[in-house]
């Protein structure tokens, strides 16, 4: 009997995948179908892709230098054909500065995620797998950090460390790991007594190996969703620190700092502060939409929360 040739869609949606690769691709495809049914989530994905593209191609897309302005002839110009989004008080082209600023936003978001997510993952999985007093102590510490006001704490940290974008990143990371620890612990508790963990234990795997190789990978998907949802908050906190003069320092085209420097002219030249704020709004809206969509696609239970 000859087999019917499958369409790609049928191959992906097959109930009986023949290989591990087919199963994985199939699951990813189902996730994508669920995700792409949500129009708002697609808009979010589009915004984030555009954001990444702009950050990568800022040098090509920019029409002027982000640092050197025309002090003599182009101060505080309104949006026009030469300067699409106007110029600031030092005669710099705002459009070009916004494009380069996307790199700094991306830098902050990625670094905070790289620092905070592994801390949360490690604390949560160790607490969940070890149990007992280790669990109690680690979770108490997590709760303490969870109960703190994040922005105010980040402010105090930056005040002690000194202003600067790296210190702002450290401060935000220190205040944003606790939710990840909670999620990782919850996921760990659901699998720690399952048969496959027992099997690995019987084979003599060390606790470290079990946590790293067999528990952490299972926590990743819910962690990624949560990190995506938090991205907007990270961007807003970083912009807030920049606005207060504690994040990125002046010549850098960071969006929060740009709003701060445009603040003096906001009553007459609204675009100097207005445009960077709009950029922040769009990007964090994109992350929120994307995060919502990912959560609905990966975890249908919480679809209506």
């Amino acid at each position: 009997m000859s087999e019917m040739p499958l369409t790609r869609r049928e191959w992906l949606l097959s109930e009986r995948p023949a290989t591990r690769r087919q199963a994985r691709l199939g699951r990813a495809y189902i996730g994508w179908l669920r995700f792409s049914a949500n129009r708002l989530a697609l808009i979010g994905l589009f915004i984030i892709l555009a954001f990444l593209l702009i950050a990568a191609l800022a040098g090509v897309l920019a029409t002027h230098s982000p640092y050197i302005g025309d002090l003599a002839g182009a101060r505080l110009l309104p949006p026009g054909p030469d300067h699409w989004l106007g110029t600031d008080d030092l005669g710099r082209d705002i459009y070009s500065r916004i494009l380069y600023g996307s790199r700094w936003t991306l830098y902050v978001v990625v670094l905070v995620a790289i620092i905070a997510a592994p801390i949360g993952l490690a604390v949560g999985t160790v607490a969940g797998y070890a149990g007992g007093w280790i669990d109690a102590v680690l979770m108490r510490i997590t709760d303490i950090f969870l109960a703190f006001p994040k922005l105010v704490l980040a402010l105090a940290f930056v005040a002690a460390l000194g202003p600067g974008i790296e210190n702002a990143i450290i401060a935000i990371a220190i205040t944003s790991w606790p939710p990840y620890a909670r999620i990782a612990r919850a996921e760990t508790l659901t699998v720690r007594n399952s048969d496959y963990i027992k099997a690995v234990q019987l084979m003599g795997a060390s606790p470290l190996r079990i946590v790293v190789r067999h528990i952490m990978p299972l926590c990743l998907s819910s962690l990624i969703v949560r990190v995506t949802l938090d991205m907007a908050g990270i961007i807003l906190t970083a912009a807030g620190l920049g606005f207060l003069g504690l994040g990125a320092q002046p010549p850098l085209p960071e969006w929060g700092a740009m709003i701060a420097s445009g603040r003096r002219f906001v009553l007459d030249q609204w675009w100097v502060a207005g445009v960077p704020g709009f950029a922040i709004l769009i990007v964090s809206l994109g992350f929120n939409l994307l995060g919502d969509g990912l959560r609905d696609a990966l975890d249908p239970r919480s679809g209506d929360q």
Binding site: L151, V152, L155, A156, F157, G240, I259, V266
Partner: protein
């Protein structure tokens, strides 16, 4: 943000008093630990991160003997654990040192700034709840409709917008162009010498003393920042309300109420919303705590003389005592509201005891 966890054990029937005592005991224990944690973190920020806290106070160019004396006065020659003990005893008695900027004791400055922040956050939460709850209910009832989408987008924008930027734009529109709102600050300068506040909540004080012109002026000053904070909390409140209401509307007692022939508005507002009330109280309390924090940026934009502005002004002048004092006060109120709402939730909602 809440500290609810899922391990509440099921008590025996009739052990109500015991359960209450247990919840209160747990609350006290967690509160003590959390406040100790807050003090430990601020201690770490103020004393451990700076390489030499004495130099941080005095500046680089202070003569060596002054530095040595300051080090002794600050107790920096003591072991760290002893320093921490002294720090805690001082903090608990409300002694955060002197502000370098204002030369007053930090606690005195904070006492003056605190009511301003509370007034702003309270009005903000009020606006957020009064608008946010009905919006959330409406979105849940008309699920999937255009209204639902609209509420969702309003909420998402609220989650995504930099609040200080929105504040600046609001100033441009409502102060500069339309002239509806007043200049940043709490009162016009004319009233600042004729009006003596009692509680520090200017709206209440003015109404109490019958000075309606002052009341109107205070209102014109507070309405813009309070509406902004209100929008911020509305985003959260409406989203959570929608979720709670969807949960309730799917229950069987709603079907029973419909079968009895109750009017739809009675079912929604009288039955479903009432059952969602307890978690809603928690959500509103949490958003109140968040507004205290959100006020830091808003106060800076609107020159509102609260703790947020105090902290940011002190930050710009490297006035660590004032920054840490303000952080501890905001942190304490924030933690207190968080824990209290958690306790309230455990005590009020019988479902949390049936696991």
């Amino acid at each position: 943000m809440s500290v609810i966890d899922n391990e509440a054990s099921a008590p025996r029937p009739g052990a109500r008093a015991g359960a209450v005592a247990k919840a209160v005991g747990r609350f006290v224990f967690i509160a003590i630990i959390t406040y100790l944690g807050l003090l430990a973190v601020t201690f770490f920020i103020g004393r451990v991160i700076p390489i030499d806290p004495a130099l941080a106070v005095l500046g680089d160019r202070a003569p060596a003997d002054v530095v040595a004396r300051t080090r002794r006065e600050m107790g920096l020659d003591l072991p760290l654990i002893e320093q921490f003990y002294i720090y805690i005893t001082h903090a608990l008695s409300g002694d955060f040192g002197r502000s370098v900027l204002t030369t007053n004791p930090v606690m005195e400055d904070i006492r003056r700034a605190f009511p301003a922040t509370m007034e702003l956050a309270t009005l903000g939460t009020l606006i957020g709840s009064v608008v946010g709850v009905p919006l959330g209910v409406l979105a849940a009832v008309k699920r999937g409709s255009l209204t639902d989408q609209f509420v969702r987008v309003i909420g998402l924008v609220g989650y995504s917008v930099p609040i200080f930027w929105l504040g600046l734009l609001a100033l441009v529109l409502f102060y500069a162009r339309l002239q509806w709102a007043a200049f940043p600050g709490r009162l016009d300068i004319v009233y600042q010498y004729t009006f003596t506040p009692i509680t520090g909540f200017y709206l209440l004080d003015a109404a109490w003393q019958g000075q309606w012109d002052v009341f109107w002026d205070a209102f014109r000053h507070i309405i813009l920042p309070a509406s902004l904070l209100g929008y911020f909390s509305l985003a959260y409140i409406s989203r959570m309300t929608r979720s709670f209401m969807l949960n309730e509307l799917a229950q069987e007692y709603i079907v029973a109420a419909r079968a009895k022939g109750l009017s739809e508005s009675r079912i929604i507002w009288g039955h479903a919303l009432r059952n969602a009330a307890v978690p809603m109280v928690t959500v509103i309390a949490l958003s109140y705590a968040n507004l205290l924090e959100g006020s830091v940026l808003t106060e800076t934009v609107f020159s509102w003389p609260g703790i947020g502005l105090y902290i940011t002004n002190s930050l710009q002048n490297a006035d660590m005592n004032a920054v840490l004092g303000g952080t501890i006060i905001i942190g304490s109120v924030f933690i207190g509201i968080n824990l209290l709402s958690d306790l309230l939730y455990r005590l009020l909602d019988p479902r949390t005891k049936v696991q």
